[in-house]
């Protein structure tokens, strides 16, 4: 069996885990980051894309609001390449308690969230599709963030500093020697090969799965209640800024424009299983009704895709033994030396995407102590790879590049304007046969046609570049189509059903993918994906 040895092993390649590994790498520690699937494929990649200003928590959870506004500013500094700084509004619709607006404004003042009340007429000039009956409007510094871009930028940074990033490596055992956690055994999904990773400190950053990983370490009572929420991407930016209803946070009260789409979210249903991705028809209907309240006519727009994410809501059965402050906080850092007398093991869970950097900093402060080598955190000032120039992403960047050179670069995905060279680089860099991995990396196939045109092209390019067998290429194509369908079929109506029918004509009527030899092999073998 292969073995690796490192100072810090991080389990969980979401934003938090990648953030911990990035923080560790910046402090000069040797680090290995593992995930059972692709990076940011779980909760991190399954949210609406909102970089919170803190306004949402200004009344309900002032401490979270303070953290959000601080992290909002920090991330705009260190990761501008993945952030579009579009701003946001909190608006009082006829469906909201009008008294909340003043409570909200006070909450923002008290927590330091930048918030400026604007004339509703001005807000409607900036957001012409918004419900014209809004009575109050507040401008806040919300933004959107492409979390895959952020996480992969951190992964590159980790690798540049000698760290190792192993997606598709699932933890099958956490090693323990007496009261000391000494690392973990992981199994590569592509080959089934197992690797023993010896680590001085192991960080459990597996979010909604943190309880299961803690169990493997023989630590009891780490209870994470997965809260499932649905989000629906619509095919236009129906709003220009992040629009929130000015009320106590509830379902379906945010629309976040991100890249070429906008995303409405979300719901919150407790579930036992963090891998539960059920989408109920009633939830879709409720979400569309909520959309109508913010943007009348919302139901006439095309819904492209629905997905669910699970929030990790932490509940410590040993709460009495720990600082009570930690129980009420949005995120929870568990030093198992203090909590359970187990050395070399730290759990970080809960929290929100916006505060991942802070969570990582606190985690690595604790890890540094374990290592007996307290080095300062620099993630607040060190730009991520790709963000060195400091310019935030601007919608139209890709179009601008394309228009400047029509003869130059072939577009493979026209919806998201993914050029061929970018796709080829991504395939080579990731050494992946999984088109869904490429989708997250480049936003390939995330637009209105949901891969109707680009997935055949991408399969052909993948086959040619990677020297795949036809079986592997066919399986990549079919795997993509099956995965795509999961997010498409619950929201098929209106013009998106037209689109789906066109896609069916392409894949069945023109290409006849159903009768490729690989169509009979239904095994969902994970594709080989090792970052290099």
């Amino acid at each position: 069996m292969a073995t690796l040895s490192t100072e810090v092993l991080v389990i969980g390649g979401g934003a938090t885990g990648a953030g911990v590994a990035w923080d560790a790498a910046l402090r000069g520690f040797d680090v290995v980051l593992v995930d059972r699937a692709d990076l940011a494929e779980g909760t991190s990649g399954r949210f609406h894309g909102l970089l919170h200003s803190g306004g949402r928590y200004a009344v309900k959870d002032p401490r979270a609001a303070e953290e959000c506004i601080a992290e909002n500013r920090a991330l705009k500094t260190i990761s501008p390449d993945s952030i579009e700084d579009i701003g946001g509004f909190f608006v009082t619709t006829p469906f909201d308690d009008p008294a909340y607006a003043d409570v909200f404004a006070k909450g923002c003042r008290d927590t330091g969230v930048d918030c400026e009340e604007v004339d509703p007429a001005q807000a409607l000039r900036e957001e012409p599709l918004l419900n014209p009956a809004i009575s109050r409007a507040f401008r806040v510094p919300d933004a959107n963030i492409d979390v895959w871009k952020t996480v992969w930028a951190m992964a590159r940074g980790i690798q540049q500093r000698g760290g190792r990033v192993l997606p598709y490596h699932e933890v099958v055992a956490v090693h323990r020697s007496g009261d000391q956690v000494t690392g973990a055994r992981v199994r590569g999904a592509a080959t089934g090969e197992e690797i023993d990773i010896e680590a001085r400190v192991t960080v459990n950053a597996s979010g909604a799965w943190a309880g299961a990983v803690a169990d493997m370490a023989g630590i009891e009572g780490v209870r994470v209640l997965p809260g499932r929420g649905i989000m629906i991407a619509m095919n236009h930016r129906l709003v220009n800024t992040c629009v929130n209803r000015c009320q106590m946070p509830t379902d379906g009260d945010i629309i976040v424009p991100i890249r070429t789409v906008c995303v409405i979210g979300t719901t919150d249903v407790n579930t036992d299983d963090p891998d539960d991705h059920t989408v109920l028809q009633t939830e879709v209907d409720a979400m569309l009704d909520d959309g109508e309240k913010l943007v009348p006519g919302f139901r006439q727009a095309r819904a492209l895709r629905v997905w669910t994410g699970v929030r990790p809501l932490f509940e410590d059965s040993k709460a009495a033994d720990t600082d009570s402050r930690d129980v009420t906080r949005a995120h929870a850092l568990l030093d198992h030396a203090e909590r359970d007398g187990v050395q070399g093991f730290v759990t970080i869970t809960g929290g929100k995407l916006t505060t991942f950097r802070l969570m990582a900093e606190e985690t690595m402060n604790a890890v540094s102590k374990h290592l007996g080598d307290e080095r300062p955190c620099t993630t607040k000032t060190e730009p991520l790879p790709g963000s060195e120039e400091g310019a935030t992403y601007r919608l139209g960047e890709r179009l601008g590049r394309k228009e400047a050179d029509l003869a130059g670069e072939q577009l493979i995905c026209e919806c998201e304007m993914v050029p061929r060279r970018k796709l080829e680089q991504a395939i080579e860099r990731r050494a992946t046969t999984n088109l869904d991995d490429i989708r997250r990396l480049l936003r390939l196939a995330m637009g209105p046609c949901q891969g109707g045109f680009c997935i055949y092209r991408a399969t052909g390019i993948l086959h040619g570049l990677d020297g795949l067998t036809a079986e592997q290429a066919d399986e990549s194509l079919l795997h993509f189509l099956r995965e795509r369908w999961k997010g498409v079929w619950p929201i098929l109506y209106g013009d998106q059903l037209r689109q789906a029918r066109l896609d069916e004509w392409i894949f069945h009527g023109v290409l006849d993918v159903e009768h490729l030899p690989a169509a009979h092999a239904q095994a969902e073998a994970p594709a080989e994906t090792v970052a290099r």
Partner: protein
């Protein structure tokens, strides 16, 4: 609105079914007008005449399989139309192509035997009648050595993938790439087909390609061998390369599909029919169970078209003629006709398994055994608006379109003039 225009029949929809109905009506002496929101499904389809490819196992002889298939699917258009009507319509189409505007271009094959044509991903797709430009790719009998030709200039065809899959299916296939210079990177097959129409450009291309070929290899190219003169382009390439050459349909816009459109449009014009594109039907005037006239809205002006007969060939969900709204209600959007095959309110509309049959797949306009719309006795339904079929999975789209379009025309011609007071 201008004055009402009067016809013997008004056809709604300019896909294969609507155009065939229009042509055959005009050929039968009716004054016919085809109204359409835009060009139809021809531009998306491979341009082959698929009658029955899968039932659900691969069908080798659609003519022989049709009756059994119809018996097993009593609500399928084929069960209502009958095998003879399908055969007649397919035969007519072949003649229509031969008499058409694309000199020398013809279709080969028939209902006796499905050919197996390589798709752009390298699957083998069954088809009854195919353009001559594709026929040499038929893998239903020994194909010998095949060389697939790709070019980086066309992102919509990947020769290497196609060849690798063909090899898995037992075809001795390899691929080569040929440079094509273009002035814009995002070239599609239509753009390249115009270059193939240019004899000098084509000669230079053939010379470059010839250097890469081995003896006894037949040559497969993406379907882009000319839009103006496909027969000339294809036979010239066969001559220059000294071997069989065949086209492989790929992503839309479909060059062979656009040829079908051109052939039918030209036939309609020659027979004295009228085609109005950009004319979406927005309302219909009814008198009891009859439709009296339809109104269109177009850029220039609104117009009203009155006729004793209407042929509804506007398509299904794919064209938007049938809609499922966000409250999960279905509508036929031209006449508001009742639909057939819609799952009950408490039943799933779609299911999570991508390759399973979707419950909504067979929805169409409810018809009687003569393909008259339920609740509108002078509306005949044709093509993808019909219920009971999953044409993109069955490989039956053109067979249904041809036979139902022809059937609608025959129904009108047989009863033409009967309704009183409707003629101008």
């Amino acid at each position: 609105m201008r004055g009402e225009l009067h016809y013997d029949a008004v056809v709604i929809g300019a896909g294969t079914a609507g155009l065939v109905a229009g042509v055959r009506l005009a050929e039968g002496g009716a004054r016919v007008c085809v109204l359409s929101k835009g060009v139809g499904s021809t531009h998306l389809a491979p341009g082959t005449i698929d009658v029955l490819g899968y039932g659900p196992g691969r069908v080798s002889s659609p003519g022989a399989a049709l009756e059994e298939f119809a018996a097993a699917h009593p609500e399928h258009p084929y069960a209502l139309l009958g095998a003879d009507a399908v055969a007649e319509a397919v035969r007519w189409f072949g003649e229509c192509v031969a008499a058409g505007p694309l000199a020398g271009y013809r279709y080969v094959g028939g209902l006796e035997h499905n050919v197996l044509l390589p798709t752009a991903v390298g699957a083998l797709r069954p088809s009854a009648l195919v353009p001559e430009t594709m026929a040499a790719g038929d893998a239903s009998s020994a194909l010998g050595h095949v060389c697939l030709v790709g070019t980086r200039a066309l992102r919509d065809f990947h020769a290497s993938l196609c060849a690798s899959n063909l090899a898995r299916a037992g075809v001795t296939a390899r691929s080569v790439e040929v440079e094509i210079e273009t002035d814009r990177a995002d070239q599609n097959a239509l753009g390249l087909s115009r270059q193939f129409d240019d004899p000098a450009w084509r000669a230079a291309f053939a010379a470059r390609l010839a250097l890469k070929l081995q003896a006894d290899e037949r040559v497969g190219l993406p379907a882009m061998l000319g839009i103006r003169d496909p027969h000339g382009v294809w036979s010239d390439l066969e001559h220059r390369l000294g071997r069989p050459v065949f086209e492989i349909p790929t992503l839309p816009p479909s060059v062979p599909g656009m040829r079908v459109y051109e052939i039918l449009r030209s036939a309609l014009r020659r027979a004295g029919g009228r085609l109005v594109l950009g004319a979406e039907v927005v309302s219909a005037e009814r008198s009891g169970s009859r439709v009296v006239s339809v109104a269109t809205r177009s850029a220039g002006h609104d117009a009203r078209y009155a006729a004793p007969w209407f042929v509804l060939a506007a398509g299904g969900f794919g064209s938007g003629a049938i809609e499922l709204d966000s409250r999960w209600a279905t509508h036929e959007r031209v006449f508001g006709l009742p639909l057939q095959g819609v799952p009950a309110v408490d039943q799933p509309r779609f299911v999570g398994d991508y390759l399973a049959e979707q419950p909504m797949a067979r929805v169409g306009v409810a018809v009687d055994s003569q393909l008259r719309a339920t609740g509108a006795e002078n509306v005949l339904v044709a093509g993808a608006a019909l219920p009971g079929a999953v044409p993109w999975r069955e490989g039956s789209g053109e067979g249904i379109a041809l036979a139902s379009g022809s059937h609608a025309a025959q129904m009108v011609l047989a009863g033409a003039g009967a309704p009183a007071g409707a003629a101008a």
